[in-house]
């Protein structure tokens, strides 16, 4: 139960089955609150998590949020991503993407030069020139402008220019500010989807008469109140409930999840993002939305506040336990009793006994960079591992409420101590802690993985979790193999060399 209702009226904990629509919220929190990068409030967190939670505000390494371009351009097949930044941004993307993208470049850098920075050139004209060139070369269905740190600092008014330019060149333009000043790594996808949510069509079930469309615009927040003078405008529960899922997944995995829901009698009306821009899902008051990844808090807020959708808060469909909880929660909201999930989950655990036994009892430390850490930690604890520390760049405790609750529940069931959650960790101090704790496995980024291996510590490079297939029931085996691979590899080498051999001087 959520103890402190005043602070969290939007989300309810995993145990309650209904979700609260944004319009009922009398708190009228400003839009900024859900995306504040603020240190945790100890009292309110206590309501959600019994373990230690702190914000270290340290120097940590993660990728720039513009990295989301590398998977989003592949997902949205008729898109073009224009990153407006400097050489630094371009060089990073180039290294991250490798040269493979040049088979079909649907991404480019609008490189800001000295004349742009010193406001000697008209940025609208410059962007128009580039977008016309893109239209000529590629003719995409949508151009996504990715703002960067530089555009933030020089206060380039991308949102102001986009509508005018869109009208001029006849291609929709989505503006997303995926910059490292505010966001980390996977949150880049969050900003793009939040922006794209504005372009989704209005759900037809909401639009009955032209008059009502106007009234929609002036409707107040308390439209569900029985005192409302607007008649027949609000969507009652008798209307068709729709389900839209949000988060970028390869189409095969998305289909798998859809199939799981279909088995329970729930149809997914659409995905944000869709494989084609023209297939963006319709949104509105009758639409329930549910996310599939933990880093999508801003998209969730956008969908709720600006498109009036209702958010289903649940743990994320990573691992069979998470997937089951996710499906169950959605079923609850749609008033359906789920069938067969418990058996599915049990069967999967049973089939993977051998792989699980290999990692059971081993300890793991997450240095943290991709915001998937809580879900992954929860899964690994369910597999029998012990998690010492979970580093994470940013934690939206409300959006991850379901996941946190499941984490706690899992720890209690598996009889292991609650892991310590450290937001904005300091990598240097973490390395000292790792040296002391000597975990069996450290999940970390590629800046630290090799040096740790050289010092006899097995590591799993974390980026792989963002592009491997880890969602759903059927990918549990792959997820387990990802985690156990470094341990298996080092075990294989053990036959030739001592496992604890160090390749470094200190």
């Amino acid at each position: 139960m959520v103890k402190n209702k005043k602070r969290f009226p939007l989300f309810q904990s995993f145990k309650n089955s209904s979700s609260i629509p944004a319009s009922k919220n009398s708190g009228l929190e400003t839009a900024n609150q859900s995306i504040l990068v603020e240190p945790s409030n100890e009292t309110s967190t206590a309501a959600l998590y019994s373990g230690q939670f702190e914000c270290e505000t340290g120097n940590y390494h993660t990728f720039c949020p513009i990295s989301c371009v590398s998977w989003l351009y592949q997902k949205i097949e008729d898109s073009f991503f224009l990153v407006i930044g400097t050489k630094t941004c371009g060089y990073f993307l180039q290294n991250a993407l490798g040269v493979m993208i040049f088979a079909e470049p649907r991404y480019a850098m609008a490189e800001l030069e000295e004349s742009d920075i010193s406001a000697q050139l008209n940025d609208y004209k410059e962007l128009k020139r580039l977008c016309l060139q893109i239209k000529q070369d590629r003719n995409p269905s949508v151009i996504v402008w990715i703002g960067t740190c530089t555009t933030e600092i020089i206060k380039m008014d991308l949102e102001g220019m986009a509508p005018t330019l869109e009208a001029e060149i006849g291609i929709p333009i989505v503006v997303a500010r995926a910059n490292g000043l505010d966001y980390a790594f996977t949150q880049g996808e969050d900003t793009v989807l939040a922006a794209m949510a504005q372009k989704c069509p209005e759900s037809l079930k909401n639009v009955n008469l032209p008059m009502e469309v106007e009234d929609q615009a002036t409707k107040t927040v308390t439209s569900n109140s029985s005192n409302s003078t607007n008649t027949d405008l609000h969507i009652s529960n008798k209307q068709q409930k729709e389900l839209v899922l949000f988060g970028s997944l390869p189409t095969t995995i998305a289909n798998q999840l859809q199939l799981e829901l279909k088995r329970q009698g729930i149809n997914v009306s659409g995905w944000l993002p869709s494989a084609r821009y023209s297939d963006l899902p319709a949104l509105g008051e009758n639409v329930y939305v549910c996310g599939i990844n933990p880093f999508l808090s801003r998209t969730a807020t956008s969908l709720m506040r600006r498109r009036k959708c209702k958010l289903i808060s649940a743990p994320f469909p990573i691992g069979p336990d998470g997937t089951r909880a996710w499906v169950e929660k959605i079923c609850n909201v749609f008033g359906i009793v789920p069938t067969g999930l418990e058996e599915r989950e049990k069967t999967i655990w049973a089939n993977l006994t051998e792989s699980i036994n290999f990692i059971k009892g081993k300890s793991v430390f997450f240095m943290g960079d991709n915001l998937l850490e809580i879900s992954l930690a929860r899964f690994l604890i369910r597999c029998g591992m012990i998690v010492y520390e979970i580093g994470i760049p940013y934690m939206d405790k409300r959006f991850q409420a379901g996941e946190l609750a499941l984490l706690e529940k899992t720890c209690i069931e598996m009889k292991v101590p609650f892991p310590r959650i450290v937001e904005k960790p300091d990598n240097y101090y973490q390395i000292q802690r790792i040296k002391e704790l000597k975990p069996d496995l450290v999940i970390t980024g590629m800046a630290h993985a090799n040096p740790l291996e050289a010092r006899g510590i097995s590591t799993k490079w974390s980026v792989e979790f963002t592009f491997a297939q880890i969602h759903g029931f059927t990918n549990t085996k792959d997820l387990l193999e990802l985690v156990s691979r470094p341990l298996r590899r080092n075990k294989n080498l053990e036959n030739h060399d001592s496992l604890s051999k160090t390749f470094a001087l200190q």
């Binding site: 990068v37 120097n59 940590y60 390494h61 993660t62 990728f63 720039c64 949020p65 990295s67 407006i84 400097t86 050489k87 630094t88 371009g90 060089y91 990073f92 180039q94 290294n95 991250a96 040269v99 040049f102 088979a103 470049p105 480019a108 850098m109 609008a110 490189e111 800001l112 030069e113 000295e114 742009d116 920075i117 940025d123 410059e126 962007l127 580039l130 893109i134 960067t148 740190c149 530089t150 600092i153 020089i154 490292g180 000043l181 505010d182 966001y183 980390a184 790594f185 760049p393 240097y428 980024g445 590629m446 800046a447 630290h448 993985a449 090799n450 040096p451 050289a454 390749f503 470094a504």
Partner: protein
């Protein structure tokens, strides 16, 4: 604004960080937003380095934007000073943070008052220079700082080593074949009787930079990085240098001959100034590098018999290489050398030779004209792509980007 798909050279801060992280016991602090520190990943994964990359990002976020970075930067410098105890802490902004126009020099001054390590601000304009130029400049800046420091301390040694010696300037992390080239160079120098004094920055200590003037001369194997430092040492300490790249048989021979004339001159100067002991001097005459006849015989032996390259080019199946068309593109050093090797030593036709090092265009043109039909100086990958499609060469000698034409 320009539409850019691919950049050949990286941004300036990468050059600075490559130099800083190549030195031992130097720690760099990047004043940058989250994600700009991908250099750490590059060094760990591409260079496959065993140690933690000595670069820490002092993160610029909204709080820092609002209240200024002074506290955070100074605190981070002091922290690294305590934690890592480096000899030098180098502070560098990136393109983004340089727009903030914060007085980083001021922070550096404040921090150096309380730290036991030296603290420097990398003096580079991020919108005007690229990775290579920035690396060159940063190396020169660090060398200059320590030599001036040694001058003040009076710990600067200007007395030449007894035997001929050389500094190798420009080997550093993530350099193209640097590790292997360095091994070869050391072997060659050893054959010639020259000792290696200092190699910078790779594996060097900034505390040893004051020993640079001890060497008889400097070697700059890659012109992109090292020339500024060599020019400084020449101007301030009368140190001659060679910037002939010993790539290919012809150029290796020229390299050796130039070193000969340098060493010969230094030897004469030392003799005339009576700084050399007579016995030592006499023994030195036996060193290959001071003996013209021995040297020429060495070059001949190496070219004809030890290196397989010349024989390879002469063997009969290589007759088929004659007249084959090729295109060469890369940095100035490698593109120029490759062109000359293909034409002079293998009889292959280079239709177009090019480089993305626009700042070195004149030198490049001078080197390759006469060896190729067309010279292309550009950093626009589509131009070189177009030329390759037009020419349809049998082989392309280029960068990663040219693989995809």
């Amino acid at each position: 604004m320009k539409l850019a798909y691919w950049m050949y050279a990286g941004p300036a801060h990468i050059g600075t960080l490559r130099v800083a992280s190549s030195f031992k016991n130097v720690h760099a602090i990047m004043h940058a937003p989250l994600g700009d520190d991908y250099f750490n990943v590059m060094r760990s994964m591409l260079e496959r380095e065993r140690d933690f990359t000595p670069v820490t990002a002092s993160i610029v976020d909204r709080h820092v934007l609002a209240r200024g970075s002074q506290e955070k930067v100074v605190e981070n410098i002091q922290r690294k000073d305590k934690e890592e105890s480096p000899d030098l802490i180098l502070l560098t902004p990136t393109c983004t943070s340089s727009i903030l126009q914060e007085d980083l020099q001021n922070f550096v001054n404040r921090a150096s008052n309380e730290s036991s390590s030296d603290v420097l601000l990398a003096d580079v304009n991020h919108y005007r220079v690229n990775e290579l130029q920035a690396a060159d400049r940063t190396l020169e800046q660090i060398v200059r700082f320590y030599i001036e420091k040694a001058k003040k301390d009076e710990s600067l040694t200007t007395i030449k080593t007894e035997k001929p010696s050389a500094n190798i300037i420009g080997m550093f992390t993530l350099g193209f074949h640097n590790q292997h080239d360095c091994k070869e160079l050391k072997r060659l120098l050893s054959d010639l009787g020259i000792t290696v004094n200092e190699i910078i920055p790779e594996g060097g200590f900034v505390t040893q930079l004051k020993n640079l003037p001890k060497a008889w001369f400097n070697i700059v194997p890659y012109r992109e990085v090292g020339l500024m430092t060599a020019s400084y040492l020449e101007k301030e300490h009368n140190m001659p240098y060679t910037s002939i790249t010993p790539m290919g048989i012809v150029d290796t021979s020229s390299f050796i001959r130039e070193i000969y004339s340098i060493c010969h001159k230094v030897f004469e100067d030392l003799t005339n100034s009576a700084t050399l002991d007579v016995e030592v001097r006499d023994k030195m005459k036996d060193l290959k590098i001071l003996n013209k006849k021995d040297l020429e015989s060495f070059i001949d032996q190496q070219t004809t018999f030890v290196s397989q390259a010349a024989w390879f080019s002469r063997s009969i199946d290589c007759q088929n290489l004659t007249g084959k068309k090729t295109v060469v593109f890369g940095d100035a050093t490698h593109a120029a050398c490759m062109t000359k090797i293909l034409v002079r030593e293998m009889g292959i036709n280079v239709v177009c030779a090019g480089t993305y090092c626009k700042h070195d265009a004149d030198w490049f043109r001078e080197q390759v004209s006469g060896f190729c039909d067309q010279v292309l100086i550009t950093d626009d990958h589509s131009q070189i792509g177009d030329i390759i499609s037009q020419i349809e060469p049998a082989a392309i000698f280029g960068t990663q980007m040219e693989r995809h034409v």
